[in-house]
């Protein structure tokens, strides 16, 4: 599989990212006074020797503070992620940051989708993006993905029922060559998998990209392995890529490799799993809190963020693509409950 963003071994990546991130953090320190005050309070001496030494921000800080490194009149988009308690992250993008994030998302997903826009099934209703003013984060997630497809089929009707006739018609037209399927994980299961299985539909040419977490599937005992196994066995769909990302690092997604089971970090991003007691980096195989690092945030200080998700690193430079491979295990127990599809690119169930 050709790729231009899953190329660097961990030592190469860390060396390059460390320099770039030190530079970016300095930039934000100079242009975002509230961020400078946080760093001042941390009182860190000297240049960070490793990625793990870079100061992180708790991701929820974007809910309580305006953290922007560009003047207000240069902000072209303010992205929000809603939590169920009503707290909302606000992410400020200028033109350059907005352009970079969509380009890098395209390059990342292009690794598994190729450069051509494929006929696309969106496992949602078109109304989810219908109201331009106040579309939900679920709608924003779908909207971010439609660029990758053409001839879109919105699978659900206005009452969230799958339109089986339209699905059959789509497969009749496009089912013999590669097509793209996007949806939140539990919706793919409930509205596409079950329908395709019950109607004996062939999804073997599909490439599925999904996100959102497993919480809503726990009661059905469906985890990532089972999801992949049953989609393959019952519908022929085997090209399946889960991804993990968040609005606070828009454009950065950690993508499941073709072999399944591990998420990989693109060259411009990395993860560190930390022990929640000592905050030291957890050893491979030991679960902890996920910190995400990315060079994409240039208009807000979101480069190094401590998430509220639990994860585990499975290995380094030993998988389908180089770098770390990891899994997300779920939310930190004390974290705010968030609906898994109410977050931009999901992954935070």
């Amino acid at each position: 599989m050709l790729t231009d963003v899953f190329t660097r071994t961990q030592p190469e990546k860390e060396e390059r990212l460390r320099g770039e991130l030190v530079e970016l953090l300095g930039h934000h320190r100079r242009h975002c006074p509230p961020y400078a005050r946080i760093l001042d309070a941390l009182d860190q001496d000297g240049e960070p020797a490793t990625l793990a030494d870079l100061p992180w921000l708790p991701v929820r800080l974007f809910k309580t503070r305006k953290l922007s490194s560009v003047p207000d009149d240069e902000v072209i988009r303010v992205l929000t992620s809603s939590g169920t308690t009503g707290e909302v992250s606000r992410i400020h993008l200028d033109r350059a940051a907005a352009a970079t994030q969509s380009r890098m998302l395209a390059r990342t997903l292009g690794t598994v989708l190729g450069p051509r826009r494929l006929p696309m099934i969106v496992v949602d209703r078109s109304g989810v993006v219908g109201d331009r003013r106040s579309y939900s984060a679920r709608g924003a997630g779908a909207l971010g993905m439609v660029n990758f497809g053409r001839d879109h089929l919105w699978l659900l009707d206005a009452d969230d029922r799958p339109d089986v006739a339209a699905l059959k018609e789509f497969l009749g037209r496009h089912g013999d060559s590669p097509f793209l399927v996007f949806g939140f994980t539990f919706m793919v299961w409930r509205y596409l998998y079950e329908v395709a299985r019950d109607h004996g539909l062939d999804l073997s040419q599909g490439i599925l990209v999904h996100s959102g977490g497993w919480k809503k599937l726990v009661d059905q005992a469906v985890d990532n392995a089972e999801f992949r196994r049953r989609l393959g066995a019952d519908t022929g769909l085997t090209r399946i890529h889960n991804f993990y990302g968040m609005v606070e690092q828009i454009g950065t997604v950690f993508l499941e490799g073709p072999e399944g089971g591990s998420l990989y970090c693109p060259d411009f991003a990395d993860v560190i799993v930390r022990d929640p007691v000592t905050w030291r980096e957890a050893p491979i195989g030991t679960p902890g809190v996920i910190e995400v690092l990315s060079t994409l945030p240039t208009s807000y200080p979101g480069n190094v963020l401590l998430t509220e998700d639990l994860g585990v690193v499975h290995g380094v430079d030993d998988g389908h693509w180089p770098g770390k491979r990891f899994s997300v295990l779920g939310r930190l127990p004390r974290a705010e409950a968030r609906g898994c599809s109410d977050t931009y690119v999901g992954g935070r169930s």
């Binding site: 072209i76 988009r77 907005a98 352009a99 969509s102 380009r103 395209a106 292009g110 989708l113 450069p115 051509r116 826009r117 993006v129 331009r132 909207l143 971010g144 439609v146 660029n147 990758f148 053409r150 879109h152």
Partner: protein, 81 residues
């Protein structure tokens, strides 16, 4: 081909008045050209000129001018009137 055809496509896809000036439009420069309208615009351009745009081009199509350049890459040369 005439540039006027591309102007009409923009006006129709973005639901602008028949006489709206579109030559200097930029993505998100006006309220009506948002990410949802962008997909209608891309589909309309593909239909009108018989081309298929790649993902990169859809993302790169950030202004009327860029649309014209991308079409040129596909061999559709639009002459100003």
């Amino acid at each position: 081909m005439e540039l006027q055809r591309l102007r009409v496509v923009f006006r129709t896809a973005l639901e602008l008045p028949d006489n709206a000036a579109v030559d200097s439009l930029e993505y998100r420069g006006i309220e009506k050209w948002d990410s949802l309208a962008h997909m209608s615009l891309v589909a309309a351009i593909e239909d009108e000129f018989g081309v298929m745009l790649d993902t990169d081009e859809v993302i790169d199509l950030s202004s009327f001018d860029r649309a014209r350049q991308i079409l040129e890459k596909h061999g559709v040369v639009l002459l100003a009137d």
